[in-house]
Structure formats: structure tokens, C-alpha cells
């Protein structure tokens, strides 16, 4: 697999896994009131402030076949997670949690309460209310969430390098390929990959803003890479 295929495959898997996670967790955090909510939110936001190498280090240690979590994961996936594509997906999902959940939490939270209550008194069950009322109204948030996760995964470097290594055809993503090309003074290839990522990221973010119909869409600030 070329680095582009690896990157897109990784981004697609991460996005597909995080869409339901974001829809569920975002709704829960927007509507539920409980004592430890600020701490749960803080844990989810951690990847935004921690250097990716720190997260990568902890994931590397916990994925190690010598650790309990690593051996359990190895049994679950049929292979160790370190330096493999499934390990890369798990790491990517964890790192992208804030990008998946925050836009959806904001979208659910900005929905006037009386709209949901009006659906209930109109006889709609919680599930029907979610399908007929909530989902169409949080659609821009869902699009923002999916696009941010996809674009952010394409650009992820630190965690991918630590957890995935740099195995050509398996865990070597575009961002790592750029690093490799620069290291070997192949600036032309590095430039092509970089330009491709730049154009894609710009298109993705532009699409989110155009679809949301507003220029003040609140999204998580980018983490230091």
C-alpha cells in the first residue's frame, strides 16, 4: 500500500468508528448533568493539549505484549497492536476523540430544549425524537465532526510514528512519508505529498464551514503536533 492508501484507510476507519461514538457521547455530555462531567470532558479533551508523543508513549507502553492491556488486545485482534495497522486505528480513534465529540456536543447543546420536549409531548419516543428531530438538526455538527476527524487523522504524525513505527505498506502514512523524504533530501516528493495534504485539508475545512452556513463554527483548536 502506498502512504496515501494507508493514510486514507486509517482516516476512513477512524471516522467510521468515531461517528457513532461521537453521536452517542456528544449527546450524553450535552444533555446529562452529573457530578464528574467536567472530569469526563477533560479526559476527552486531553489529546488537544498533550503533545502527541506523550500520548504515543502511553499507548506504546499499554499496547506492549508484555502488559496486561497489550496481551488482552493482542488476543482480541489476533495480533499485537504495536507497529500494526489495527494498533494504528485504535491509537487514532483515541487521539481523535475530542475532534469527534466536541462538535456534536456543541450541536446537541445548541438545540433549544423546547424542540425536544415538543417532540415528546407530540408522542415521539426518545429514539423517534432522535431520528426525526435531533439528527436533522445536528447534521452540520456531524459533518464537522466527521470531516475534522478525517482531516486530522490524515495529518497525524507523532502518535502514528510512535505506535505504528514506519513500516512501508502497513503503517507508513503520508505525514511520515513526508518526514522520510525530507530526511533523505527528496524535497520534490515531500513537496507533492505536502501540497496534496494542504489542498485536501483546506477543502475539508471549507466544506464544513460552507455547509454549517456560518463562519463562527466552534471547533477544537489544533493540538501541537
Amino acid at each position: 500500500m502506498t502512504p496515501f492508501v494507508v493514510s486514507f484507510k486509517l482516516a476512513l476507519w477512524t471516522m467510521l468508528i468515531l461517528i457513532p461514538v461521537g453521536l452517542f457521547t456528544g449527546r450524553w455530555l450535552a444533555f446529562a448533568q452529573f457530578r464528574f462531567k467536567p472530569w469526563i470532558e477533560s479526559i476527552i479533551l486531553l489529546p488537544l493539549v498533550l503533545p502527541p508523543t506523550v500520548i504515543g508513549y502511553y499507548l506504546l507502553v499499554s499496547f506492549s505484549p508484555d502488559s496486561l492491556s497489550g496481551s488482552l488486545a493482542a488476543q482480541l485482534f489476533g495480533q499485537p497492536l504495536v507497529f500494526t495497522f489495527p494498533g494504528l486505528v485504535v491509537a487514532s480513534v483515541l487521539v481523535n476523540l475530542p475532534f469527534a465529540i466536541q462538535p456534536l456536543q456543541l450541536a446537541y447543546g445548541s438545540m433549544p430544549m423546547d424542540i425536544r420536549e415538543a417532540a415528546w409531548v407530540s408522542g415521539l419516543s426518545t429514539a423517534q425524537t432522535w431520528w426525526h428531530i435531533e439528527l436533522p438538526l445536528i447534521w452540520p455538527g456531524l459533518l464537522a465532526s466527521a470531516t475534522l476527524v478525517f482531516a486530522h487523522t490524515l495529518g497525524e504524525f507523532g502518535v502514528v510514528l510512535l505506535v505504528g513505527g514506519n513500516i512501508d505498506g502497513s503503517t507508513r502514512t503520508v505525514s511520515i512519508a513526508i518526514y522520510d523524504h525530507v530526511q533523505s533530501f527528496d524535497l520534490r516528493s515531500a513537496g507533492l505529498y505536502s501540497a496534496a495534504l494542504l489542498v485536501f485539508s483546506l477543502l475539508a475545512l471549507g466544506l464544513v464551514r460552507v455547509t454549517s452556513g456560518s463562519s463562527n463554527l466552534t471547533t477544537p483548536s489544533a493540538a501541537p503536533r
Binding site: 433549544p112 423546547d114 420536549e117 415538543a118 415528546w120 409531548v121 407530540s122 426525526h132 436533522p136 438538526l137
Partner: protein, 374 residues
């Protein structure tokens, strides 16, 4: 906990109590076809009562039954879901689904046992009854406040509800639209045989729309009854003040005759009111309806009056074709406030300091004894 007034014919019976997050202790009933207004100042808990009836708020202790079915009984931990209660609810800001047009908004509330096509025709007929013909395919953002309110009402009724709950439905529309909506609601409700609860803080709205009212203050229901009865004959001074009455005078029962009870104000002045059975010398608060007061220049009346108070004009404010007058009474050191049409009084009356006499219609006099009704 206060028990609901046990009148079995009440189609809706409500008794609610909680201590947190704010105290609530209310009990009232409503007949089928009756519109009961829950009135009280902002923050008195009336919207919470409405939400509790709908099942949108959970109280610590409560009993809610409607049309012979128990919706909530905390003693037996019976609590029917919002969906199962079958209420029609018009929210203060309407709560219309912004991504659905008027017809879809209403059709979504039509009970699911109707076939899909029939649901649309039922929704159409409700939009027609709420004067929304021609606007069925408009989305809420393209509708005016009054039109949104009509869609919200159509949606609430399309549910074929057991009770109609209206949470300050006219607060977000202008005065002109409000008057038109009053008329439309009055027409519409004549064909509805379910209890209707209107939450408002506007006594004029209550007088125009409701049959009865329940006054709520600081989470407590203070008095329930027919609108005119509660308004003209409040049981306590607190109720009178909350209903906006200002003409409250301290008095004592002086005597009774065949038709009237006489009250002494201050040292000597006597005022006559409807006959009651209060013992002589009972201390009361007299409520004098502004409509029962006729002012004259002192000494300018050739008709002798046995129900005449004396004082001087304290201030007068011109309000369109009316004067809003405040007359300070001689003996009781209190003022009476009332309005008179500008063409009906001597212009000199409005001059501050002018001596005036006030003829009081005895039917407009009501005695309040704290703790009992006269």
C-alpha cells in the same frame, strides 16, 4: 401536603409538592371544556406546574389524574411517560421543528394509529381550523409570531389530547396579533371538550379567555374559583394585591341592616357593602373596586349619598381619553385609585389639592378577613 379539591367531576385533578429546587405546593382541578388560568408573578412556579402535568418535570410528591386515568401517583410510584399522557402543549416559544414545514410539524403529532395519508389530512384540517390555510408548506422561519403560534396550537390539538396546556402562548406576539389570537382561541375552544390550562401573568388575558383561575405565588396555590369571583372577592389581602388591587382600606364592621353591612373607616366615616355575617367590630380590609367609584367636586352634588367618602386629589395623570386619579381620604390616611373618562368629570377635579367626594357603589365593596372568606 395539600390535597386536591375532591370534586369527582373534575376531568383534571392536580396536587403537587416539592421542596427542591424550589418549594411547590399546589392543588387544583379543571372540568372538561373549562379553561383554567394559572396566574402569578414571574418565577411563581406556574410553568413548572404545567410541565409537571405534562410529565416534563418530576416533583417529589404528587397526584395527577385526567379523564379517569392516573398519570402520576408518587405514593404508588406510578408515573406515566410524557408520550403516554397524551397532552397538547403549546410552548412559550412554540418549540416548532425548524426543519419541517407547518404541515409536517402538525402531522408528526397526529397519533400513529392513523394511516400516513390520513395523518396529513387530519393535520390539514387542524391548520384550517387555526386559520393557516395556504401556509401549510412554509417552514417556521418564514412564519410570523402569530402564525407560529397557530401552528403550535394546531400541533397540540392534532394529538387528540386529553388536556390542552398553554404556557404563556401570547407573550411573544405584538398587541394587535394578541387580540386576534384571543378571538381565534375563544372560537376554537368552544368546540373542545377537554380541560384547558393557560399559564399567564396577565390578568386582562385571564379575564378575556379563562373561565376560572388559580392564583399561584411562591409555589403555592392561594385561591381558585371563577375568574370574576376570585378577582372581585379575593380571600386574602395577599391575593388582592397579587391581582393588582390597590384600593385596600383598613376598616371595622360597624353594624348590619336588612340588606347591607356597614364598615367604619378611621374614626367616623361609614361605608356600606353587601350583607355578610361578620360580627360587629371585626377588623377587615375593605377592597373597593375602581369601577364602583364616582368622583365629584365636594359640595357640588345635589343628590344625598349615604356611601360617600371625602378627600382631596393627590395626583392625576391623563391617559388618552381617561384620567388616572389618586384621591387621598381624610380620615383613613389612605388613597383610592381609579380611572374616569375625561368627558365624565369636572375638569377641576384633576387639580392637585382639590377637595372631592367619592360616591361608592355598595356592590363594589368587599370585606377581606384574613383566614376566611366573607
Amino acid at each position: 401536603m395539600s390535597e386536591p379539591r375532591q370534586e369527582p367531576e373534575h376531568a383534571l385533578s392536580v396536587a403537587l409538592q416539592q421542596h427542591r429546587p424550589f418549594p411547590l405546593d399546589v392543588a387544583f382541578g379543571c372540568h372538561a371544556g373549562e379553561m383554567l388560568a394559572l396566574i402569578g408573578p414571574s418565577g411563581s412556579g406556574k410553568s413548572t406546574v404545567l410541565r409537571s402535568i405534562a410529565g416534563l418535570h418530576t416533583v417529589e410528591q404528587g397526584l395527577v389524574s385526567c379523564a379517569g386515568q392516573t398519570w402520576l401517583d408518587t405514593r404508588s410510584q406510578h408515573d406515566l411517560s410524557v408520550q403516554a399522557r397524551g397532552v397538547g402543549f403549546v410552548f412559550q416559544h412554540y418549540g416548532l421543528f425548524p426543519h419541517k414545514n407547518a404541515l409536517e410539524n402538525v402531522a408528526l403529532a397526529v397519533p400513529a394509529h392513523h394511516p400516513r395519508r390520513q395523518r396529513r389530512s387530519i393535520a390539514m384540517s387542524w391548520l384550517e381550523r387555526t386559520n393557516m390555510t395556504g401556509l401549510e408548506l412554509q417552514n417556521p422561519h418564514a412564519l410570523s409570531g402569530g402564525q407560529k403560534q397557530r401552528v403550535a396550537l394546531a400541533r397540540a390539538l392534532a394529538r387528540d389530547p386529553s388536556v390542552l396546556l398553554l404556557d404563556e402562548p401570547f407573550s411573544a406576539v405584538d398587541q394587535q396579533t394578541r387580540r386576534r389570537l384571543y378571538r381565534e382561541l375563544a372560537q376554537l375552544r368552544s368546540g373542545l371538550d377537554i380541560p384547558m390550562i393557560l399559564v399567564t401573568h396577565d390578568i386582562h388575558e385571564v379575564q378575556q379567555l379563562a373561565d376560572s383561575l388559580c392564583l399561584i405565588h411562591r409555589g403555592k396555590s392561594l385561591q381558585q374559583g371563577k375568574v370574576q369571583t376570585v378577582f372581585n372577592r379575593p380571600e386574602t389581602k395577599e391575593v388582592a394585591k397579587l391581582l393588582g388591587h390597590q384600593n385596600l382600606l383598613p376598616a371595622r364592621v360597624a353594624k348590619h341592616d336588612d340588606q347591607s353591612t356597614w364598615y367604619q373607616l378611621g374614626n367616623c366615616e361609614l361605608v356600606r357593602g353587601p350583607l355578610n355575617s361578620l360580627p360587629a367590630a371585626t377588623t377587615v380590609t375593605l377592597l373597593i373596586a375602581p369601577s364602583a367609584i364616582t368622583p365629584r367636586l365636594e359640595g357640588n352634588s345635589d343628590t344625598p349619598s349615604i356611601n360617600r367618602l371625602h378627600g382631596c386629589t393627590r395626583d392625576a395623570v391623563g391617559m388618552g381619553d381617561e384620567w388616572s386619579l389618586r384621591v387621598h381620604l381624610d380620615n383613613v390616611k389612605k388613597s383610592l385609585r381609579f380611572r374616569v373618562p375625561t368627558h365624565a368629570v369636572d375638569a377641576a377635579i384633576v387639580i392637585a389639592g382639590q377637595r372631592v367626594s367619592l360616591d361608592i357603589l355598595s356592590s363594589g365593596v368587599h370585606a377581606i378577613v384574613e383566614g376566611s372568606q366573607t
